[in-house]
Amino acid sequence: MRFTRREFIQYGSASGLILSNNHGPLMKALEAASLNPTPSEDWRATTCQGCTTWCSVQVQIQDGRAIKLRGNPHCKGNHGVICPRPHLALQQVYDPDRIKTPMKRTNPKKGRDEDPKFVPISWDEAMGLLADKMMELRKQGETHKFGLFRGRYTYMRDLIYSCLPKVFGSPNGISHSAICAEAEKFGAFFTEGFWGYRDYDLSSTKYFLGWGADPLASNRQVPHAISVWGDLMDRATVSVIDPRLSITAAKADEWLPIIPGEDGALAVAMAHHICVKGLWSREFVGDFNEGINQFIAGKQVPEASFNERHSYGIAKWWNLELKDKTPQWAAERTGIPVEQIIRVAEGFAKAAPHSISWVSPGTAMQVRGGYSAMAAHALNGLVGSVDHRGGTVQSTKIPINATPSYKAYQDEQAKTNSKKKKIDQRGTLEFPALKKGKSGGGVVTNRAADAILAEDPYDMKVVVSYWSNFAFSCSETKRWEDALTKLPFFVHITTHAAEMSHFADLVLPAAHHLFEKLGFIKSKQNLHGYVSLNEPVMESLWDVRMDESEIPWMLAEKLADRGFDNLLRYYKESFPDLESGNEPRNGREFTENALKYYTQPLWDSTHEKYGKYGDTPKGWEEFKTLGVWNTKGYEYGKHIDHFKTETKKFEFYSETLKKSLGKHAKKHSVTIDEVLQATKYQAQGELAFVPHYEEPFRWGDTAHYPFIFFEHRSRLNREGRSANCTWYHAHKDSDPGDENWDDVLKMNGVDAHRLGLKTGDLVSISSPTGKMLANLKIWAGVRPGTVSKCYGQGHWAYGNLAAKDFKNRLPKGGNNNDILPADYDRLSGSTARHGGVTRVNIIKV
């Protein structure tokens, strides 16, 4: 129904408006306000790490309690806006199930079915117990059998993640990065020379092509994307490639409902079509010498016929891969109609250079997904949107002081043992993990479980893990349960008694990173980099400690008591107070000194880098109050011809990858072709150096496992930690297709009717790896033949709400990682959780 404004006014005056004689609460409030002016609100700056956007936020404090959140208006990245996640954090910090005090295991037996029988102990006793175990390793010359596993961190991380193991004498700092987005960075590195998240000029772009990207809901830049999306849709065409109808796809001009794992086919076909139609960027890529387009389907192009400008290898790429990869060929594989492939490819290219091809983990974190990521990112190079207004950009410089060297504090044992092999098999023949081009440069997180089980390269004896929950968050969870059962001594630093805690000897309560911790992050969105501080904004109710600083300090003190004082000396001598020069006397002083030291170039006007790269806060106190420091705005074009690739150009034929693979092959005395066979890729020969199509790899045969399973993220997931919050469950239907207070398996109605299933049926979902239960939901937003469930539920620990039955370890909902196999994109070391890596069978229970 449509109204004119006059009609409103008519309604206002003509209707029987009930006027109350009772002045009511509003009038009372107005009177009260004039008599008692409201005291000004107390808002304090800190950082939200609910996803990896890492926004700068503010928390309102009343009587020492955190009560509300909003965006930090001083941050140019998220400029005062936040997504739903920060609000949810109130229910995390004030969760009744939080651990208040260190816990010690009293049941010596470990296992999924063993009750740890935790008892409360003091910090003093807890740290002493850990120090005792570590000193045993020292005495036996086995310091390398100590491991520090890292989950959610700030950039105070070196203090616990590298300094502690290295000074103690272990190489085993194992991070979670491989279960995050490393394959995505692989794509950008081996084309553009940039191993990192890209930033995007959303405010000027004319075409958004999202590869599994759902920025209105999850990773990355969520609040900024939400804030500009209305304007963006008015100006730009939005096309989203996603096996499910995400919220970004629901609002888009085009939804390309790709068959999981076929992203590479779509990307190379789009590149083929852009070439055939002559729509590549003459400015960025160059042109044929005669100006006549020789990209004809099926025909080779003489390399010498093309005069290439800022890119390298376009003719080689065409000849090796693109020439036969027509849209018709791709339509057969991807399930996307050929007209749509053509329309989207042409629209994307014609809007260039103001076009964005946004590669996200959905497209990259697949078996063989590194090449899909390369292909999808290469489209930016093809149309010249790289480092251009309206396109994809890199980072602005953030000057931070480097962690002081610990080398002088390493004794002989530490020097020797910290050079031993890391346990995660990075750099082995099968796991190149080519971070920034280096063999073994990246972590292979999920292999750590196998290493522990096989005692290969050696038997791990003492592991400390912080803000992690690998027994929930890594695929094929059973291996982690077994590995943690086997570990002789395990310490978990965590806010909640999570799955991983269940296997621990000691559980240490962590300060909450949004409300109770001192630290800092570096991030970027909206064409600005920024440093945002994590700050303790409220009075902690419980006896928690800051994970990355206070806990290692306490450990260092205990080790010193037991005769090993190298770590404590390192901490004390390397982090004096910047003004007085005094050594820190306790963990809190250590934390503050370290934070001030790291961020000094940002706030200290006497530092040589102060003011050169961005904001100029007047000193430490002002910086803390603002909570954030911003870089200058991004300047386009500076990377062109200076990319960190072998050729300094944007590489379609990656000399960079060729060199990396060559080095890795030589290290293992094999050929590159043998490396590719060992790492489960199909390409051989020169095809390995260009973005190309690799067939998806799936576990389970079609006869026994008729459905392709794929998972997705939630706009309410604070990584894996939201499920104990009532607000998570009460608003879960904000994820398209999902239901409140449930964890539904989404299936297309065509399949459901064929199987005689209806919404609400309890079904068992089984893969070759494992089983889980969920309620079925018939939903049109998934393709027939595929089924999907959101990640985040299926906890059997964590809390009373997250688990169905905490005491008996029964899960509420299903953990996708119970059915996902531990498979990898081996070139990047990434865990392959996407791309339809497993097929499943669905049976009504």
Binding site: R2, P25, R65, H87, P96, S227, R715, T726
Partner: protein, 230 residues
């Protein structure tokens, strides 16, 4: 000069359905988890691959012709001079006539004392984890993140036996502040203002875009207006 008549405009084009408004409202108004002063309607339609999905944010419509006010026997539910439909727990007898009368599901009834999860005494792990009641003991508030400003004009937490609903953050409006759902929307999809003022932002939006309301056939004359499409 016409009297003030408050209204909200929701721009569905800007809205991305994130439900930050729903959650933020709870933090402002100490709303129990399953009561949605700020709420939404979700619709998926069509057949794969031509599927549509939309999210429509909802709240009390602060109707001109409010059926809840008409139904209320005690005037606990009443209209304010600025057009808001407000509630007074002192006079509320919990008869739920308002809830029955409201076609929008905007009114919620407190069957039990709310926020039960913060009254539980049993810790997950004895001596080690907290409990709901320990939190409320330590913070001396019914919920640890209790916002006391809500109590300026309405009960901070409404008791067992009465209804509750959105008041368009009248306590904030009284201080010249926007409702918290408006301030918290990252898409700037919500605007509140005086539609009797032709220069107000709401008036200008309603001038620019043809608005819709929910269930106009019910004759409630809602004052939450929707513009554009999701």
């Amino acid at each position: 000069m016409k009297p003030q008549r408050l209204a909200m405009v929701i721009d569905l084009h800007r809205c991305v359905g994130c439900s930050a408004c729903d959650i933020a409202c709870k933090t402002e108004n100490n709303v129990p988890a399953d009561m949605h002063w700020s709420n939404h309607i979700i619709e998926t339609s069509g057949t794969f691959p031509k599927v549509h999905h939309r999210y429509i944010p909802t709240l009390c419509n602060h109707c001109e012709n409010a059926p809840c006010v008409k139904a209320c026997p005690t005037k606990a539910m009443h209209k304010a001079p600025n057009g808001l439909t407000l509630h007074n727990t002192d006079d509320c007898i919990g008869c739920k006539a308002c809830q029955l009368a409201c076609p929008y599901g905007a009114i919620f009834f407190n069957e039990r004392t709310p926020h039960q999860e913060y009254q539980d005494k049993e810790p997950l792990i004895q001596g080690c984890t907290a409990s709901g009641s320990e939190l409320t003991d330590k913070t001396r508030k019914p919920i640890p993140y209790y916002n006391k400003e809500r109590a300026n004009t309405y009960d901070g937490v409404r008791p067992k036996g009465v209804v509750e609903k959105c008041t368009l953050c009248d306590h904030r409006l009284a201080q010249g502040l926007e409702p918290w759902c408006v301030a918290s929307c990252p898409a700037s999809a919500r605007t509140v203002g005086d539609i009797n003022d032709p220069d107000s932002e709401v008036s200008q939006l309603l001038e620019k875009y043809p608005p819709k309301v929910l269930n106009p056939e019910k004759g409630t004359l809602p004052h939450v207006f929707y513009i554009r499409e999701f």
